[in-house]
């Protein structure tokens, strides 16, 4: 009997069951896909690190053979060291190559920090071939087969890109360094042709028995290194990939919530519609439990089918979502996760059945008398007409009827309301994240000040080699004068990076920390959270995360060690920065630093005289100094964040598409249900002369109004959730107090209008059945 009833129900409520089925498939896809991705990403990082045999500790030093000898001697003696893998990177300046950035040529590592091609195979290069990481290829628009030319001394060399590689050490955009791989023969040829030993950077991949102890000992030696990185820190650079997987999970939870809301609505509607049948069944002695069984049987069939299909589809979906991660990482194959996806499917079935069991509880309370009395138990409720047409002024009848319907039966619209609110939240949160990442103010989160123009004059490596600060300052002045001659008045300054060892009285463990110093620019111009900007030469500011780690508060002394000597500094202020995953220092402009110890430059920044047309001035500067790389703030951010913005953009596109799809499905389901319920009234209005167009507009208008109200509440909820979610997201990258960039036209007008248009179009489509309604359906009125 159950099968017969089920068959009949599935046939009769085809549309409603189909949409419920689709929603369950989608929930299943997203839940299984989200969990799968999260586990895959977590495993992928472990797997990638294991396959690439990542060293426990990596240190890079530049230039001096004496330094190298010192480090190598110490490593030989140190008992904690298990193995050392030495790499050399040959610097080819930007102006000497066609790559677009400075190049660091390197031999393929054979023992540690291995690289793989896009098919996860080891890379072999013949003379004349070069391999670059996937992220570099995307950034510089290079494909396999392209040629990269460069000049070393008087030699012109041309190499063909053979492979794009997954580079565990330098593949993440957050590492901030990249390498290009060449054959041993080409490497030797370039090395021999290099005129200066300062153009060689040496890297040491070290396996140790105890990383923490080793790191401490290494730091205590005070080697003049440019940067050091433990395996744990390297893992943090891949955190964004985990974040995207986690984001998918959030979408799937929202979807599941929407499915439950719709399920609740469907069950309530079905029970209301079938109360007579239920009453009759009760009257002839069928128990409530057995009647419930009929409904549970139906939802079991729908949920099992939906969850199973969703679980199966989640595998290609998960693979698709993992594609962008897979480009950069050596990942285990996803096929093995069918079991996981099926388990997620089972979880959904269990959740749905539990929920259905609760929702069908009403059957127990439904009496035979209610069935006889057509669902009325004799109670009188409040007035059913909350608005008055004759008091509505000039309000068109269409708006009046739609608004009156919503206010008359608010509960009926709650599922739609909740679904739409969730949709708005799902769109606004990633949208704000993307806009914040793209917004001008994000530049300050990199620990630098926002300026009008950003310049790379390709002399950074030379300044570092010479160690001549006055030469750098003279160059800045010369540049200002050159531009001024052409009518562009710009004040320039340079931002220098150091990696001194840092310690405090309370935390004597030394750690190499990124320290920034602007020359020709006052420290008051930066954004601080607390305290006073460092003005005197022995003052500094540091990130909150670093202060917590060093266990210091404002006013305490911290120690920086650039060379051998430990110099005390007063900690005067805190700030926030994404740099170095949240651990960095800002030195005073007057701090006595030596360019010899600089690790790099953020580039020259500049402010135009007030009233200057920034874009016009920048394009003129490009004409005056065509060799320089000149960017505005937007371009600088894009270069700084690289593929991260694209990934967030992908997530945004995915969520917008999913939300529009879900909203459309929910709208169609509810419109069809409302049509079924309102068929008598529609027939009545048709009979007294209301056109099909009016009736469809009336039905659609109600949905549109709900969407509008939902947008308002969705924005409100997003506003509250922004702090919780986005701040937390940015917090992982090292900034806990991010100033959100909200683009009001896009967030409050553009996307809500898009959602509204999608919903109205779906509603209009779903109400097309009005045309076929016969006036005879008037007899279906209660």
């Amino acid at each position: 009997m159950f099968i017969q009833i089920l068959k009949k129900d599935l046939k009769r409520k085809k549309g409603m069951n189909l949409i419920l089925f689709l929603l369950l498939i989608l929930s299943s896809i997203f839940l299984a896909g989200g969990i799968n991705n999260l586990l895959l990403t977590m495993n992928a990082i472990d797997y990638f690190f294991e396959k690439a045999n990542v060293s426990d500790f990596y240190a890079m030093t530049m230039g001096s053979e004496e330094n190298e000898n010192r480090i190598e001697e110490w490593l030989k003696e140190e008992g904690l060291v298990e193995a050392v893998d030495k790499d050399s990177y040959l610097l080819i300046e930007k102006e000497d190559n066609s790559f677009g950035n400075p190049m660091y040529l390197c031999k393929i590592r054979q023992k540690q920090n291995l690289i793989f091609d896009t098919k996860n195979q080891p890379v072999f290069l013949e003379p004349g071939e070069i391999a670059i990481s996937v992220s570099q290829a995307e950034q510089n628009d290079i494909k396999p087969g392209d040629e990269i030319r460069f000049r070393v001394g008087d030699k012109e060399i041309s190499l063909q890109v053979k492979a794009l590689v997954k580079d565990v050490l330098f593949g993440s955009p957050f590492v901030g360094f990249n390498a290009q791989y060449v054959s041993d023969r080409d490497f030797a040829m370039v090395e021999n042709a290099l005129l200066e030993e300062e153009s060689i950077i040496t890297g040491y991949g070290i396996s140790t028995l105890d990383v923490l102890e080793f790191e401490q000992k290494f730091s205590n030696e005070g080697f003049p290194v440019n940067t050091t990185m433990t395996q744990k820190e390297l893992r943090k650079c891949y955190i964004m990939d985990m974040l995207f997987a986690a984001f998918l999970m959030i979408i799937s939870i929202c979807l599941l919530a929407v499915s439950f809301v719709i399920l609740k609505f469907t069950i309530t509607f079905t029970l209301q519609e079938e109360f007579k049948e239920i009453g009759v069944m009760k009257a002839i002695g069928i128990s409530s439990f057995a009647i419930r069984g009929i409904y549970l049987c139906k939802y079991f069939a729908v949920s099992v089918a939906g969850a199973l299909l969703g679980a199966v589809f989640s595998i290609p979906f998960s693979n698709f979502m993992m594609k962008s991660i897979e480009k950069n990482m050596y990942m285990p194959r996803a096929q093995g996760n069918l079991l996981l996806c099926l388990s997620c499917g089972c979880i959904i079935v269990l959740l749905v059945m539990g929920f259905c069991y609760i929702c069908t509880g009403k059957i127990r309370r439904l009496t035979v008398m209610e069935a006889v009395k057509s669902g009325s138990n004799g109670e009188r409720y409040g007035k059913s007409s909350p608005l008055s047409l004759y008091k509505s002024g000039k309000l068109p009848t269409l708006f009046f009827l739609a608004a009156n319907d919503i206010l008359s039966s608010k509960r009926k619209y709650i599922p739609l309301f909740i679904s739409f609110i969730l949709g708005v939240i799902m769109i606004i949160l990633p949208l704000n994240a993307v806009n914040t990442l793209k917004g001008d103010s994000i530049i300050t989160m990199f620990g630098i000040a926002r300026s009008d123009v950003y310049i790379v004059n390709n002399k950074e490596e030379a300044y570092m080699k010479d160690g001549d600060m006055s030469k750098m300052l003279a160059d800045l002045q010369h540049m200002e004068e050159t531009y001024a001659k052409e009518g562009i008045y710009v004040k320039l300054y340079n931002e220098i990076n150091y990696f001194p060892y840092v310690s405090s009285d309370t935390n004597k463990d030394k750690r190499s920390i990124l320290s920034l110093q602007a020359k020709n620019f006052h420290t008051e111009n930066y954004r601080y959270l607390e305290g006073e900007p460092p003005k005197l030469s022995k003052e500094l500011a540091m990130t909150t995360m670093l202060a917590e780690e060093l266990n210091v508060t404002i006013g305490d002394t911290v120690y920086l060690q650039f060379a051998k000597e430990k110099i005390p500094y007063i900690f005067t202020a805190t700030f926030e920065s994404f740099n170095n995953l949240g651990y960095s220092i800002r030195l005073s402009e007057t701090a006595e630093t030596d360019l010899k110890y600089a690790a790099g430059f953020y580039g020259i920044q500049g402010y135009f005289r007030e009233g200057t047309d920034v874009e016009a001035a920048i394009s003129k500067m490009k004409e005056i100094t065509p060799d320089y790389e000149i960017k505005n703030t937007r371009e600088k951010i894009a270069a700084q964040l690289g593929t991260v913005i694209e990934r967030v953009g992908e997530i945004k596109l995915l969520t917008v598409s999913v939300v529009i799809m879900i909203n459309s499905l929910v709208t169609i389901l509810l419109c069809r249900t409302f049509l079924e319920r309102d068929k008598g009234e529609i027939a009545l209005l048709k009979s007294i002369g209301f056109s099909n167009g009016f009736l469809r507009a009336w039905q659609s208008m109600r949905i549109g109004m709900i969407q509008l109200v939902s947008v308002f509440f969705g924005i409100l909820c997003s506003y509250l959730l922004n702090d919780l979610m986005i701040q937390y997201t940015f917090g992982i990258m090292g900034a806990r107090q991010v100033e959100l960039s909200i683009v009001p036209m896009e967030v409050y007008v553009g996307y809500p209008l898009l959602l509204l248009a999608g919903v109205l179009a779906s509603a209009y489509f779903a109400t097309s059945g009005v045309k076929k309604f016969s006036v005879r359906k008037i007899n279906d009125m209660e």
């Binding site: 007035k383 059913s384 047409l389 004759y390 009979s687 007294i688 009016f694 045309k771």
Partner: protein
């Protein structure tokens, strides 16, 4: 007297499960301006289908319906809707009304819709006319009530108010007293006769001889065809009703009623 409605060779066929059901077979008749015509006949003879088809609520399979010079069979759905809204009024056996609106709002809704975008009556004038109608039909005291707060007779009178609010040229009534008790039926028919005397044509379907006796003419339908018709003349006074009923009953007996 000119025709308000001229029906010619009207056919209506329903196809159900590949079987044809010819409900109306070449039906032809007229309703003159200011005339009240009743349609009678046994159950399943096609009375309601005839009413729904000639009023354009349902499509016709063949034939034509001329309504004040307009051939309804050639009008588009939107034009038909406008004709129904502005020039026709409808009263059903069940007192159908929008449940989320008060009695007053249900009455004025078609008028507000009809005046949309036209420089016709203002909403204030519509409200005044609605109140006048409600007063005439003695339901002004329940104007603000919900539809479940009034009696069946009051609700049917509200339906009549709604059908009259746009000053229709004709009213179609499908067993308007079918769900009412004797007193309520009397009241409703009294109103219909009054409206008819004021010049509005009425085509009604009924099983009730007492109701049909108040009309000018009775059409008798059997198996989708007009079997015959009987002219009673204008109903003038209540004291004539018994005679009219008797004569009509005799004719109906002949028809096999």
């Amino acid at each position: 007297m000119s025709n308000s409605l001229a029906v010619k060779d009207l056919c209506k066929t329903y196809v159900m499960d590949k079987r044809q059901n010819n409900v109306l077979k070449n039906v032809s008749f007229t309703v003159n301006e200011g005339e009240m015509v009743s349609v009678m006949g046994p159950s399943g003879s096609g009375k309601s289908t005839l009413l729904y088809t000639v009023s354009s609520m349902d499509s016709m399979t063949a034939g034509s319906v001329d309504f004040f010079g307009k051939d309804l069979s050639h009008l588009k759905p939107k034009e038909l809707a406008k004709v129904r809204l502005v020039e026709m009024g409808f009263i059903f056996q069940q007192m159908y009304m929008l449940k989320n609106l008060s009695i007053y709002d249900n009455i004025i809704l078609p008028a507000y819709q009809a005046e949309k975008g036209r420089a016709g009556r203002s909403r204030k004038e519509i409200n005044e006319q609605a109140e006048e109608l409600m007063r005439k039909l003695d339901i002004i005291q329940v104007a603000d009530n919900d539809i479940n707060e009034v009696s069946g007779g009051q609700l049917q009178r509200a339906c009549i108010c709604r059908s009259l609010i746009n000053h229709p040229k004709i009213i179609f009534a499908d067993e308007p007293t079918g769900s009412l008790n004797k007193q309520a039926s009397y009241e409703v028919m009294k109103e219909l006769n009054r409206i008819n005397r004021e010049g509005t044509s009425i085509l009604l379907v009924t099983h009730d001889v007492r109701v049909a006796a108040k009309s000018d003419r009775v059409i008798y339908l059997i198996d989708g065809r007009i079997e015959d018709e009987y002219k009673l003349g204008k109903f003038q006074a209540e004291q004539d009703l018994r005679d009219r009923e008797r004569t009509l009953n005799g004719w109906l007996m002949e028809m096999g009623w």
